[in-house]
């Protein structure tokens, strides 16, 4: 443990060093401003942007007798060529013939070009070189004109992007089929389309010193707790790292319990899910470059709620909800329970079943715990192989693998047949709650080992430990186990049952609600009364 402290201090030092290094190394882009000389500017830009092959520098002249030299700098593949051709070059070359260099002399005259000649939506005037380059790297086009120390940055972002498709991870039978894409703007637009409200705020930050990734915080002002929004922002601002490539990076930097196996931030690929969560008072974090949107705070039961619960009828939704809890319980305890029953508590198995199971176990070489662990490992390997392989082979291989291993291991007498049944049941159940499946795998392992040593007592001790941990966890100030404990009777409407929409009167209290009431009371459909 003492060593640990030293290690900690050591790591701290290294980290401090790193940050300093970064600060000193990064200004390859100088703080310089642009000069009036186009040649010099271009030289400087070439210098900074280096030999990258996708940098296009287009020099041209325009105005009266083509006396004005100018240059466009943009990145090939990041920009929309049509805009550049039609809205920048064309107006300058064709319509600006009459402008003489003298006319441009007055200091504010670059403003004229900006105002009159560029038929593009977003144009800004930039002086510092660094800013211009950053914009250029993000897909904008720099227009440099000889004689000006200012550059015009024209918004020409446009690149090949995946279109809005149905998300593969969260398929629904009923409900919208669109999913987020890798482009932040598309994602914000998808959300904006769901929530047409001026209170719906999208704030953008840039994170990652090297990647300069755009990260967007989305919330509904007046519904989300302002303290929560502040907390999210301050945590995000604390991140000082090289790269943010996926929302998972952010999650690990700002989650409450970094050592806990439980995820304390939810993610979703579906705009309707994220919109619903924002409407409940949560804050969403969108990261450029990934379709996975984070929402905070997360509570444990969120893993058991699916978008479709709210689109299908309440009875069935409630049934399925309960089934998910059951499946979760099965997936974490089934192998452990089997091990405990067969090695410690044989008295709890009904006699005929015991005889059958004992017969199946005759001659198998490994103890039940070992069997459970081996089969569990094999299952995880098969699953991983199935996920990683190209889809057409993947499913085939996992099925064949499972059949061959399961079938032949049993017939060879290596593994008892009941164990194969238990493990496959566990596996199937684990697919029901995908967002907690990593927790489930860990819990299953720990419980199985505990059960192997102390039977049911071990399982109960393990579950109690888990309960304590769950009760102690918080996600952005909200108790993780929230509507269950601390108990909020009002919020139980959406835990084991999903009450009909007209009865969902309030927003969940657990999430630091602000605007408590969700809808009018008494919206239950009913035949009109006589005096109405």
């Amino acid at each position: 443990m003492l060593q640990r402290i030293f290690k900690k201090i050591h790591v701290q030092q290294i980290l401090n060093q790193n940050v300093q290094e970064k600060d000193s190394a990064s200004p390859k882009v100088s703080q310089d401003n642009l000069s009036r000389d186009l040649k010099q500017n271009l030289k400087m830009l070439r210098n900074i942007l280096g030999p990258s092959s996708d940098v296009v520098i287009r020099e041209f002249s325009f105005g009266c007798e083509e006396k004005i030299n100018a240059a466009l700098i943009f990145l090939d593949g990041m920009t929309n060529k049509t805009i550049i051709n039609e809205s920048i070059i064309k107006p300058l070359m064709y319509h600006a013939r009459l402008i003489s260099p003298e006319e441009l002399r007055p200091t504010n005259s670059i403003e004229i070009i900006k105002r009159t000649m560029l038929s593009v939506g977003e144009v800004k005037k930039v002086t510092p070189l660094e800013e211009a380059i950053n914009d250029c790297l993000a897909g904008d086009t720099i227009l440099l004109i000889n004689g000006f120390h200012e550059a015009l940055v024209v918004s020409t972002k446009g690149w090949e992007a995946r279109s809005v498709e149905e998300p593969k991870t969260e398929a629904v039978v009923r409900g919208p089929r669109e999913g987020f894409t890798e482009t932040l703007r598309v994602n914000t637009a998808l959300l904006r389309r769901k929530i047409c409200n001026s209170n719906f705020i999208l704030e953008t930050l840039q994170l990652g010193q090297k990647t300069k990734t755009n990260v967007c915080i989305a919330y509904l002002m007046g519904v989300a707790n302002p303290r929560l929004v502040e907390e999210v922002k301050s945590r995000l601002k604390r991140i000082k790292t090289d790269a943010i490539l996926e929302s998972g990076y952010i999650e690990e930097f700002i989650e409450d319990a970094p050592f806990s196996p439980f995820p304390t931030m939810a993610n979703s690929e579906k705009p309707d899910v994220v919109a619903a969560k924002i409407l409940e008072g949560r804050v969403a974090i969108l990261v450029d470059g990934t379709p996975m949107v984070l929402t905070v705070p997360m509570v444990f039961i969120e893993s058991f709620q699916s978008a479709e619960d709210y689109y299908s009828r309440p009875y069935y939704a409630s049934l399925v909800r309960t089934l998910r809890f059951l499946a979760f319980l099965i997936t974490i305890t089934a192998p452990a329970a089997y091990v405990a029953l067969t090695t410690f508590h044989q008295e709890f198995i009904p006699t005929p079943l015991l005889i059958t199971m004992a017969a199946a176990r005759e001659g198998t070489p490994f103890p039940a715990v070992a069997e459970a662990l081996i089969m569990g490992t094999i299952f995880e390997i098969l699953r991983e192989a199935g996920v990683r392989l190209p889809r057409p082979i993947g499913s085939a291989i996992s099925i064949v693998g499972a059949l061959v291993i399961g079938e032949s291991a049993v017939s060879a007498g290596l593994i008892g047949a009941p164990m194969v049944i238990v493990i496959s049941l566990t596996a199937i159940a684990s697919f029901v709650i995908p967002s907690q499946s990593d927790v489930a795998a860990l819990a299953r392992l720990i419980l199985t080992i505990l059960a192997g040593f102390l039977g049911a007592f071990g399982i109960i001790i393990g579950l109690l430990g888990g309960l304590i941990h769950l009760c102690a966890l918080r996600s952005f100030g909200t108790p993780y186990f929230s509507p269950l404990s601390p108990l909020s009777l009002l919020d139980l409407k959406d835990v084991f049952f999903r009450v009909p929409m007209w009865a969902m009167l309030t927003r969940p209290r657990g999430i630091g609600w602000h605007d408590f009431k969700r809808q009018k009371w008494g919206l239950m459909p009913r035949p009109p009364r006589k005096n109405e």
Binding site: Q346, E347, T351, T356, A359, I449, L454
Partner: protein, 393 residues
Amino acid sequence: MVKRGSLFLRILAISLIILLTAGCWNRRELDTLAIVSGTGIDKPEEPGKVQITVQIIKPGEMKAPQAGGGGEGGSGGQKPYWTVTATGDTVFDTIREMAHKSNRKLFFPHNEIIILGEDAAEEGVQKYLDFFARDHEPRWLAWVLVGKNTASEVLETKAELEKVPAISISKLIEARGATSEASAVTLHEFLTRLMSKTTAPVASLIEVSGQGKEKTALLTGTAVFKKDKLAGYLNKTETRGLLWVLNEIKSGIIDVECPGGKGKVSLEIIRARSKIIPEIKDNTLHLAVEIDEEGNLGSQMCSDDLTSESAWKTLEKNQAAVIHNEVMAALKKARELNTDIFGFGEAVHKKYPKLWKDIEDKWDEFFPNLEVAVIVDAKLRRSGLITKTVKPE
């Protein structure tokens, strides 16, 4: 506050280490168990010793019936059970003694029957049953039986429909409802009666019939204990009499004379309920046993027309008389043995706790002379799919 997550993980790690170093004490795999399905207790020749027979299930053989159709008889190895006998000083000691014969540890939770040999039962059963009540393995739901022969003989009988004789006997007891002529007593019930100051314990009686390899076990009535010693037996009729009073009749057949007197009519018991009502009249204690019974006409072995009102009434009356006689027979036997098998004492205790304090210790003198009124209310409800019997009009 120290990080919460890390604490959780560390505690888990610590407990795992403790577990790993400490090993595993109570672990036993399924294939290291000798599942006991039945236990028999006998008194051997040698005085002061106990002889115990256990029947162990062989799961492997249970599974595979394909080898040689049935397969008992010739080679003993194919029997799906194994009957072991050992002798020792105490019950526990004897059971542990079997470790010398069986490589697997005897496993008692699935023990379904406890058979007490006649000799052992006569000697007193408290000392034998204590182990089954105290140890954490045997269940209190095991059936207690008394074997007219030795217990080991009973366990070595042949079972036709089941693979293991002990399970067969256990199912035999569970199926008693069809006749209600055998009592079924769980260990828990037996112990409850044994602990009672006045109520006498009873147990099912089992006998071996047949010769050689064709021996079968059959239930023949009830064994009655005085305190913990075997006092006598009730035959089938008396057993049913007992069950009437105890409110344990499930079904059964009552044979009565045809109203015309030529042949018998079988009535099936559909529902029965009874109550013991102690009463003090004129300063003396009376007991009334009220029995309500409902039956159906089951079969008719005479050609009379039973559908007439008078015939029907007669049948009901006869039915009541049969029940009455059965109860009286049981009562007579109980008086003879001076054993309160009906729990009359407890009934008095519950109704007249003050009076009870005075007569509690003198119950043995009280019981044989106790006035018991048996009031039977028997009804016939339905006549089946036909009304009159099948005969030419």
